[in-house]
C-alpha cells in the first residue's frame, strides 16, 4: 500500500537544534550544535557518524527522551508542521508510540527481562488506544509475524532471554511499529547482530516501512549501510552536520574533508577499491621477505623453539567438544564448538578466520594460543607439536614467539597497571634485560605503535579504545614474537580508528615480518589485511581459499551470503 507522498509537506523538520548536558553547576557539554534536517512522509533518511558525533542524542531529542541532564538548548523541532520542543509531558506522551516510534539499539537491555514479550508489545497497543483485551492479544501475534518472527503465537508467550538476538530485534521492531506511527526512529537497530541477520532484518524493515508508508530516521555508524538503505544522507561530526544530500552523490563525490575521510577509509567501502588491494599486496611482499630472513636465523639458532619452516602454524583436525548440561540435571549434551578444522599459516602472511557468532572462530584462536586444550587434533608451531612441550622453559619459549591481541580494549589491560607496567610485564615474566633496558624497550614499542611516550605513566582508564588497542599491540610485540593472533582486534572500534589500527598492523607486518592469524566477523576488513581466508560456520570450515578467490568467485553459497551482507556491497564506486 504505497501512498504517493510526492506533494506532501515535510513530516519532521529540525532547525538549528542545540542539545546540551549539564556536567556541573557551570559547565554544559554541547552534544548537538546547530543541526538542521528534513524528513518527508514515507521517506528513509540516514544519519551517519562515529561515536560522540551526536547522532543518537539528536534522535532522542526528537521524542524528548534524553538521558540524565540532557536538554534542548535552542532551535526547533517541527512535527507535521507543529513545534514540539515546548510541549508538555502529556502532549509528548501522546506523540510517542502513536506518531513517532522508536526501535532502540541493544536488543538485550531494551526489553524488560521480567515480562513476556507479547505482554510488552500489548502494552504499546493499550497505551496508545489502538485496542485492548483479546483483540490486542491477537494483534500482538499479527505484529510479530509481520516483523518476521516465525512461530509468533508461541513466541509471544515467552520471555526475552529465550529469544536470540535477531528475534529480540524483530520484537522491538514490532513494538515500534505497533501503533502505526508516521515516523520510526531506528537507532543503530542491527549493530549488535551478525551480518547476515542484519541484512535480513534491514531488508524486512525496508519492505515493511515501504508498505506501511512509514518514514524512517536511520541512525548508523556505517556509511555503506546508510547509503544502501536511504536516499538522503546526513553526516554528523562532533555535534554538527558536516554534509548532507542524496546518498549516492555523497558517496561518489564527498566534499567535506570528514566525509572524504570516511569514504576513503571505512572498510566496507574501501575494501572494494583496487587501491586497497594493491596496498595489501605490497605489504605482503615486504613481510614475506623479512619473515624469510627471520626464518633463516631461527633455523640456525639453538635457543628458538622451531626449525624455521615456511609454514609457521599448522593446525590439523582441530576439534573441541564442550559437555553442556541438558534440561535435566543428569543429561549431558556434547556440543562441538570446533569440528575438524585444519589450516596453514605461512610466514609473513595473514590468514583470516571469518565467521558469525557461534562459528567457533574464537575457540580455534584460543586453541592455537594454547589457552584451551583441543579435544583432538594438533597444533604445530614451526614444526613442533604444541602438546609435546612439557618443561616450563619450552612453554615460555612458545609464549615468546606467539602473542595475542584481544577484542575488548576495555578488558584486555589490567586497570590497576600503568601502561608502562602492562607493556613491561612480558619482559619481566621472561626475565629479559635490566630495568633500564626494559624501559628503553617500552619506549621503543610505544614509538612503533605511534603513541607518545608520556603515555607510559598513564592508566588504561584514561585512554580511548583505539589507544588501548595500540597499547595491547605494543605489549604483544614486547617479546619480538613471530606470530600475532588478533582475535577480533578491531571489531569494537569506531570506523576511522579501525582503519588506523589496520594500517598500523599492516605497517608492522611489513617492517617486522610478522605472521598474523586474524579472527573477525567482518569480511570487509579481511580484504585489507589478509591473504588467505578460512570461512567457518557452526564449527566447520565452509571454504578455505585466497582472499582474491573468495571475493571474486566464492565457491560456497554461505560465503556468497556473507559477501552480499557486507553493508554497502551493492553500491558500486569507482577505483
Amino acid at each position: 500500500m504505497s501512498t504517493d507522498f510526492s506533494t506532501a509537506g515535510p513530516l519532521l523538520e529540525i532547525r538549528d537544534l542545540r542539545v546540551g548536558f549539564r556536567v556541573d553547576k557551570k559547565k554544559v557539554l554541547t552534544a548537538v550544535d546547530g543541526a538542521s534536517l528534513t524528513i518527508y512522509p514515507g521517506q528513509t533518511i540516514a544519519i551517519v557518524g562515529e561515536s560522540g558525533s551526536g547522532k543518537s542524542t539528536l534522535a532522542h531529542a526528537v521524542i524528548d527522551l534524553l538521558p540524565g541532564s540532557g536538554h534542548v538548548m535552542g532551535g526547533s523541532i517541527l512535527f507535521q508542521g507543529a513545534e514540539i520542543t515546548d510541549r508538555s509531558r502529556s502532549q509528548m506522551l501522546a506523540l510517542r508510540g502513536s506518531s513517532i516510534g522508536l526501535v532502540p539499539q541493544d536488543p538485550m537491555s531494551n526489553l524488560n527481562p521480567l515480562w513476556k514479550v507479547g505482554h510488552q508489545i500489548k502494552e504499546a497497543l493499550v497505551a496508545n488506544d489502538v485496542c485492548s483485551g483479546d483483540e490486542a492479544d491477537r494483534r500482538v501475534v499479527e505484529l510479530l509475524e509481520e516483523a518476521g518472527l516465525p512461530d509468533a503465537e508461541r513466541r509471544a508467550r515467552q520471555y526475552p532471554h529465550e529469544f536470540s538476538g535477531g528475534m529480540r530485534q524483530r520484537a522491538l521492531i514490532a513494538m515500534g511499529l505497533a501503533s502505526r506511527p508516521q515516523l520510526l526512529i531506528a537507532d543503530e537497530p542491527t549493530s549488535a547482530l551478525d551480518v547476515t541477520v542484519q541484512k535480513q532484518i534491514l531488508d524486512h524493515l525496508d519492505s515493511l516501512t515501504d508498505s506501511l508508508g512509514v518514514a524512517v530516521m536511520l541512525i548508523t555508524h556505517d556509511l555503506g549501510l546508510a547509503a544502501e538503505r536511504a536516499d538522503h544522507l546526513v553526516v554528523m561530526y562532533r555535534g554538527k552536520i558536516v554534509e548532507s544530500g542524496p546518498a549516492l552523490d555523497i558517496l561518489q563525490n564527498p566534499q567535506h574533508p570528514y566525509t572524504q575521510r570516511l569514504v576513503s577509509k571505512a572498510p566496507s567501502i574501501a575494501s572494494q577499491r583496487l587501491s586497497s588491494v594493491q596496498a595489501r599486496a605490497e605489504v605482503r611482499e615486504q613481510a614475506v621477505q623479512t619473515a624469510a630472513e627471520i626464518a633463516e636465523e631461527v633455523a640456525q639458532s639453538a635457543a628458538a623453539l622451531g626449525a624455521g619452516e615456511g609454514d609457521i602454524i599448522v593446525a590439523e583436525n582441530l576439534t573441541k567438544i564442550f559437555t553442556l548440561r541438558g534440561a535435566k540435571p543428569w543429561e549431558k549434551i556434547d556440543f562441538a564448538a570446533v569440528d575438524d578444522v585444519s589450516f596453514r599459516l605461512r610466514r609473513g602472511t595473514t590468514t583470516a578466520i571469518v565467521g558469525e557468532s557461534g562459528s567457533g572462530k574464537s575457540t580455534v584462536a584460543r586453541m592455537v594460543l594454547d589457552l584451551l586444550p583441543p579435544t583432538s587434533g594438533t597444533v604445530r608451531f614451526d614444526g613442533v607439536d604444541v602438546k609435546t612441550l612439557s618443561s616450563r622453559k619450552q612453554q615460555l619459549s612458545l609464549r615468546r614467539q606467539m602473542q595475542p591481541v584481544f577484542q575488548n580494549p576495555y578488558a584486555s589491560l589490567d586497570p590497576l597497571y600503568s601502561i608502562y607496567q602492562s607493556i613491561e610485564e612480558p619482559l619481566r615474566t621472561h626475565d629479559i634485560g635490566s630495568k633500564k633496558e626494559r624501559e628503553a624497550k617500552v619506549r621503543d614499542l610505544l614509538d612503533k605503535v605511534s603513541l607518545p611516550t608520556t603515555v607510559m605513566s598513564r592508566f588504561p582508564g584514561e585512554l580511548s579504545g583505539g589507544q588501548r588497542q595500540r597499547v595491547a599491540i605494543a605489549r604483544a610485540l614486547a617479546l619480538d614474537p613471530e606470530v600475532v593472533i588478533c582475535d577480533e582486534a578491531v571489531s569494537a572500534l569506531d570506523v576511522l580508528v579501525q582503519a588506523q589500527i589496520l594500517e598500523l598492523l599492516n605497517d608492522l607486518q611489513a617492517e617486522l615480518g610478522l605472521s598474523y592469524l586474524f579472527i573477525t566477523h567482518d569480511l570487509a576488513v579481511v580484504r585489507q589485511i589478509a591473504d588467505d581466508v578460512l570461512v567457518m560456520q557452526n564449527g566447520k570450515v565452509v571454504e578455505a581459499a585466497s582472499v582474491a578467490q573468495v571475493f571474486d568467485s566464492p565457491a560456497e553459497a554461505y560465503t556468497q551470503r556473507l559477501l552480499d551482507a557486507i553493508p554497502g556491497a551493492s553500491i558500486h564506486l569507482g577505483a
Partner: protein, 322 residues
C-alpha cells in the same frame, strides 16, 4: 527519488565551523590517574568521609592516649560515691559502683576497638583467601568451600557466639584482657567469614573471565601468579567496603555479647559491660546518665565506621549515588 525536495538540498558545512581533529589523538597534557587515585579524589570530596574520619581519629586518640581525656581511674570504685553527681574532672558523675562514668567510657573504647579491629582482620583474612581459592579454582574446591560457608552462614551469628563463648568460659574460666578479647574475636570470626568469602568469590568469578587475565597467561604467567598479580587486586573493592562496615558491626556485637553477660568478663572495662549494668536502672527510669554516656559513645563509634564504609563504597563505585 530524483527530485530534491526543499530542506534536503546538498549541503556542505564550511570547514572553519567544523574543523577536523586528528583521529584518536592522545591528550598529552593530562595528569595520569590510576583507579585508586581517582577513588581517593572522590573520597576527599565526600562530606561523609570527613565526618567519619574525624570520629575515627578522635576514637584512635582516645584508645592510644586515654589520659588526654580524663585523669580519673575507671576502676576506682568507692561505694560512697554511688550515683554522685557531676563535679570537677568528672563530667558525668558516678555509676552504681561509684566509679567515674566518663573515665569508664574513655577506657572502654579500647576493648571495643580491639575486638572490632582484630575480628575484622581475622574475618577478612579467612574470607579473602577462601573466596579467592573457591572462585579461581572452581570445581570440587569451590563446592566444598561454598557448602562449608553455607553451613556456617546458616547458624545465626549471635547464637553461635553465645554457644562458643559459654563453652570456652567453662573450660578457661579466668582470662586476662587479651585472652578475653581473643575468645570473642575467634567466636566472631569463625561464624562471620562466610560473608566475605561469598563476596570475594563473586568478584573473582567476574574478574577471572576478563581478557587481561588471558593476556597474562599468554605471556607465560603461571596460574598462581595470575591470581596474585591480576585477579585478587581487582576483586578487592567490594571486600574493602564490607570490611569497613563489618568493623562497626563487630563493635556492636561485642557490646551485645557483653550485654548478655557473655562478652568480656565483668572486670574488664567495656561499653557492653556498662550497658549491661545499666539495664535495671532503665526500667526504673532513674540515673539514666549511666546508660546515655556509653550508649552514645558506642553509637557514634559505629556511626563513624558505617559512614566510612558508605563513603568508600561511593568512592569506589561512582554510579552508586547518582
Amino acid at each position: 527519488m530524483s527530485d530534491i525536495r526543499p530542506g534536503q538540498e546538498r549541503f556542505v558545512a564550511p570547514l572553519e565551523e567544523t574543523p577536523l581533529r586528528a583521529i584518536d589523538a592522545v591528550d598529552v597534557d593530562a595528569v595520569p590517574e590510576s583507579q585508586w587515585k581517582e577513588a581517593w579524589k572522590r573520597l576527599r570530596a565526600s562530606p561523609l568521609f570527613w565526618l567519619a574520619s574525624v570520629i575515627i581519629l578522635v576514637l584512635a586518640v582516645m584508645v592510644a592516649f586515654p589520659t588526654l581525656f580524663t585523669s580519673a581511674d575507671p576502676n576506682a570504685a568507692k561505694l560512697g560515691n554511688q550515683f554522685a553527681p557531676a563535679s570537677e574532672g568528672h563530667p558525668f558523675g558516678y555509676n552504681f559502683q561509684g566509679a567515674d562514668i566518663w573515665a569508664r567510657t574513655v577506657y572502654g573504647a579500647r576493648a571495643s576497638v580491639a575486638v572490632g579491629l582484630l575480628a575484622t582482620l581475622a574475618t577478612v583474612a579467612i574470607g579473602v583467601v577462601s573466596g579467592a581459592v573457591a572462585g579461581f579454582f572452581g570445581g570440587l574446591t569451590d563446592t566444598l568451600i561454598s557448602r562449608l560457608s553455607d553451613v556456617f552462614f546458616s547458624i545465626p551469628l549471635l547464637l553461635a557466639c553465645i554457644v562458643v563463648i559459654s563453652v570456652i568460659n567453662n573450660i578457661f574460666p579466668s582470662r586476662g584482657f587479651w585472652g578475653s578479647v581473643l575468645v570473642v574475636v575467634l567466636a566472631l570470626a569463625v561464624f562471620a567469614w562466610p560473608q566475605i568469602t561469598r563476596q570475594m568469590r563473586g568478584a573473582v568469578l567476574e574478574v577471572k573471565n576478563l581478557e587481561f587475565v588471558d593476556a597474562a597467561t599468554a605471556i607465560g604467567a603461571s596460574k598462581m601468579a595470575n591470581l596474585r598479580r591480576h585477579i585478587v587486586p581487582n576483586a578487592l573493592s567490594p571486600v574493602i567496603v564490607s570490611a569497613t562496615i563489618m568493623l562497626g558491626v563487630f563493635i556492636v556485637s561485642e557490646s551485645a555479647l557483653s550485654f548478655l553477660g557473655l562478652g568480656l568478663p565483668q572486670n574488664i572495662v567495656s561499653w557492653g559491660n556498662d550497658l549491661s549494668d545499666a539495664q535495671t536502672l532503665v526500667r526504673s527510669g532513674q540515673h539514666l546518665v549511666v546508660m546515655w554516656v556509653p550508649a552514645t559513645a558506642l553509637a557514634i563509634t559505629v556511626l563513624g565506621f558505617v559512614l566510612l564504609g558508605e563513603a568508600v563504597r561511593e568512592a569506589l563505585d561512582p554510579k552508586a549515588r547518582k
